[in-house]
């Protein structure tokens, strides 16, 4: 970098940017800060006032958020860990319809699997009242008050079904989360950033 020291105003802004980027690993964070420091230095050396140049970047915390969003998205998609995927999609659910739909679909699938597993667990303790029932009102899975009013269809097959539904729901939820995050990452316009135009 240039040997000239940045103005105190710019040095302070860069320090705040670096602190705000703390979630990004050191080499990448230093790389971002060094590149922006170089940009600011070149602008001020060409005669622009530090305050004017910094105005084009905004508050360092808000500016850092743009990098952190990308870091979180690519990190979640790269690691494919369920916790990272869920956290990344949940943080976007309040401003992305796609993320909200993915959360809703994931919740529905998880709830369905939960009902099957809960019924199977209950059947261990009370085999006559829990299961998949066919009655006058149609099919339902769960606990029935009077087993004489409906026919139980699964018997002890409910246990492998519960295990299978748990695995399938987990896989489907992951697929939905990964698919939604990839779509969000791909479809994000180049300048979804506030102040895109001067």
């Amino acid at each position: 970098m240039s040997p000239a020291s940045p103005s105190p105003e710019i040095a302070h802004w860069l320090r705040r940017l670096s602190w705000s980027l703390a979630a990004i690993p050191t080499p990448e964070r230093e790389d971002i800060v060094a590149e922006i420091a170089d940009h600011l230095r070149e602008r001020t050396q060409s005669g622009q006032a530090p305050a004017d140049v910094l105005a084009g970047f905004g508050a360092p915390e808000a500016y850092a958020r743009r990098f952190l969003d990308d870091f979180e998205l690519s990190g979640a998609l790269g690691s494919q860990r369920s916790g990272d995927l869920a956290a990344a999609i949940l943080r976007r659910a309040h401003h992305s319809l796609l993320a909200l739909a993915a959360v809703a679909a994931a919740c529905l699938l998880a709830a369905g699997a939960f009902v099957v597993v809960l019924t199977a667990t209950y059947k261990v303790f009370d085999p006559t009242h829990a299961g998949l029932w066919s009655g006058r009102a149609g099919f339902f899975i769960g606990i029935i008050d009077d087993p004489a009013t409906a026919r139980e269809l699964l018997g002890f097959w409910i246990f492998p079904l519960a295990a299978l539904s748990l695995v399938l729901a987990w896989l489907a939820v992951r697929l939905i989360l990964v698919g939604a995050l990839r779509r969000i990452a791909r479809d994000r316009p180049a300048t979804t950033l506030e102040g895109a135009a001067r």
Binding site: S2, E35, G56, R66, P189, L193, A196
Partner: protein, 120 residues
């Protein structure tokens, strides 16, 4: 333009820019490796894409993460200032070709449509 109309015009301009900033950036990099400040100034001067000062780096960062470009620090000829240069990858060139084809297809149909009333 009045003071009230200016923010509205800026917002409209920002909306229109959303779709073209990435395409213009990829097209610039197709000429050869360039650094962030140079890209920003050329986007403004040559392409008329009037991005805010800080917008270029998150955009470059994202496109690099997506594998569309690679970067390296290079020492300038005067030896005093290392700069981070960006260059298109093969994936970036393919993306540019795809976005360019889409942009031309859209222009070919949209321009005559928007001009239809003046042509009558």
């Amino acid at each position: 333009m009045t003071d009230n109309e200016r923010p509205e015009a800026d917002s409209r301009r920002a909306q229109l820019l959303k779709g073209v900033a990435e395409l213009a950036l990829l097209s610039l990099l197709d000429e050869g490796p360039q650094y962030g400040l140079e890209l920003l100034d050329r986007l403004r001067a040559d392409a008329g894409v009037d991005l805010a000062e800080g917008t270029i780096y998150p955009l470059l960062h994202r496109l690099q993460k997506a594998g569309l470009m690679a970067s390296e620090w290079r020492i300038e000829q005067d030896g005093a200032r290392p700069r981070k240069y960006y260059a298109l990858t093969d994936l970036g060139r393919a993306e540019l070709a795809s976005q360019l084809a889409e942009w031309r297809r859209l222009n070919a149909s949209l321009n005559p449509f928007l001009d239809r009333r003046t042509l009558r």
